[in-house]
Amino acid sequence: MKTLKGILGYSWAFLTIFIVLATFIGNDYFSGKLASATDIKISPWFSGGEIIKTIDHGAYKTYIHRPVFDALIGERRKGFIQLNWEPYAGLPPVVQETIDYNDDNRADFLIILNTQTGDTTLSANCSTVLSTERSYRLKKGWAVRVILKK
């Protein structure tokens, strides 16, 4: 038993050199495998959530993300919906978008964004739309988060 333990100990110790080499050399491979195997994503509280609708305005597009209310278990009472306008080059001085985020065929809010200054104006048509967070100037275009409640 002692000899077996010794052999296992030495083998494991020797194997660590290969573990280290594999970890660094195969980092891209293993991280790709890890990401695909776990299907893990960035929390929508940071990424804005998946895009559920794209409106093509010709020179620019509006990307509407899904409403984010995610909690550790279940949902939170307060969340947001993120809208992106891209690309910069195609954006007019002012963009405005009417959004029906809950698919009830009624406009829930109207948002107006000044693409020069980033100023936003929100007109809420339902009580679940609260306000806007500040607008964000991204690499490709503008993003705005509208605060919602359940």
Binding site: G9, W12, T16, I17, D39, K41, I42, S43, F46, D70
Partner: protein
């Protein structure tokens, strides 16, 4: 007594030929990892490569030849931290124009992921299949990439990660070596439980709020990497907290105590990493027959991992980072690296070498890019006045 110590050190002193032979594998491996299959053609990069290669291998040669581990590990470990900070900040300034991290960058997933965040992300990842960090899953400084490094290094070294991989630890290690003798000599043992409390607190809070609480409120290393752009009173308070923690835990207390206080008394990843020591093959053990109870190891340990009680059991605590400082400090060579499952007090040199190869390799590989980058940027700074 002196004769015993001399005899003990004589055990580890190797002939030049044998040392070179033992260093050859490391030379080949570091060459392979530094070049990654191609040798740079421009002068600055080539110089950086040669200088880094020589630096690493001289340190490893001295480790093998002299039998001293921490003395040479610490040089590379501190170099890693300094070069990391220099390289990282200059890259941020080149790419973003400042060290500040804007909300827009966070929305785009532009925040580099570091290993200290890992414990906070596990519960939300398990329950929501999402990572609560504004970074990227794949690519440079990615979340998946860092997880793979963490898993690999933890499998190989356990909590040795904290002394052979962590690019922050070298900062406090450096500060803890400034004074010859500590000004604060005794610390209540209860403080060593603090990292576990911090770990529990931030894991629960992060899971409940779905945001990385430690990064947002407590990480001292934001002071030397990146910080959230100050746009509100809350962010200002957060900034004051992490700057204060950096000054207190990474600069002042390590100087006064000669210990790595952030690692030993605060770091949640360190606490989390202690678990991996239980399953790791390498450990530090004590030969109680040789021990003369001089307590030099207790005074030397930078992470409060040795006390009379643990010495009585012939082992160190699970918080040990395997830096080797106690092994170097012991005049009797009673403390030694050990491979689990093997006989306790024979082949000590073999055990140490079996640990040194993977451990030094980790340190060399993780340092290589930052050290080379820092050399190139320093050359640019001297010759052109800019790091780019």
């Amino acid at each position: 007594m002196k004769k015993d110590a001399a005899d003990a050190s004589a055990i580890k002193k190797r002939s030049l030929f044998k040392t070179v032979l033992l260093c050859l594998p490391m030379m080949l491996l570091t060459f392979m990892m530094l070049t990654q299959g191609s040798i740079p053609t421009d002068g600055e990069r080539l110089f950086a490569l040669i200088a880094t290669f020589l630096f690493f291998n001289i340190l490893f040669f001295l480790m093998v030849r002299t039998g001293k581990t921490d003395r040479f590990r610490s040089i590379l470990f501190i170099t890693l931290a300094v070069c990391f900070v220099f390289s990282f900040i200059s890259n941020l300034i080149a790419v973003r124009g400042s060290m500040a991290l804007s909300r827009a960058t966070m929305i785009e997933g532009g925040a580099p992921f570091c290993h200290l965040v890992i414990p906070m992300t596990i519960i939300p990842a398990a329950l929501t299949k999402t990572i609560i960090f504004p970074g990227k899953i794949l690519g440079r400084y990615s979340i998946a990439g860092m997880f793979v490094l963490w898993i690999g290094v933890s499998l190989a070294l356990g909590r040795g990660l904290c002394s052979w991989f962590c690019f922050f630890g070298g900062l406090e290690d450096g500060f803890s070596r400034i004074l010859k003798k500590p000004i604060i000599k005794n610390m209540n043992k209860k403080w060593t439980y603090l990292p576990y409390a911090v770990l529990l607190g931030i894991v629960l809070l992060s899971a409940l709020t779905l945001s990385p609480t430690y990064c947002k409120w407590l990480c001292p290393f934001k002071a030397v990497t990146e910080y959230v752009e100050i746009t509100s009173m809350q962010v200002l308070i957060q900034t004051i907290i992490f700057v204060s923690l950096f000054i207190g835990l990474v600069v002042v207390l390590p100087i006064l105590t000669k210990r790595r206080t952030q690692c030993g008394l605060f770091c949640p990843l360190g606490a989390f990493q202690s678990v991996t020591n239980k399953t790791n093959v390498f450990e530090i053990r004590l030969d109680q027959d040789k021990c003369i109870k001089c307590n030099k190891c207790i005074k030397a340990c930078p992470t409060f991992s040795i006390d009379e009680e643990s010495l009585g059991r012939g082992r160190v605590k699970t918080s040990c980072t395997k830096c080797g400082k106690c092994v170097d400090a012991c005049p009797q060579q009673a403390l030694f690296y050990h491979v689990k499952g093997t006989p306790l007090v024979s082949k000590l040199d073999r055990y140490r070498l079996l640990f040194l190869y993977p451990a030094f390799l980790v340190l060399a590989i993780i340092s290589s890019r930052f050290v080379q980058d820092a050399i190139v940027k320093t050359i640019n700074l001297i010759t052109t006045g800019t790091t780019i």
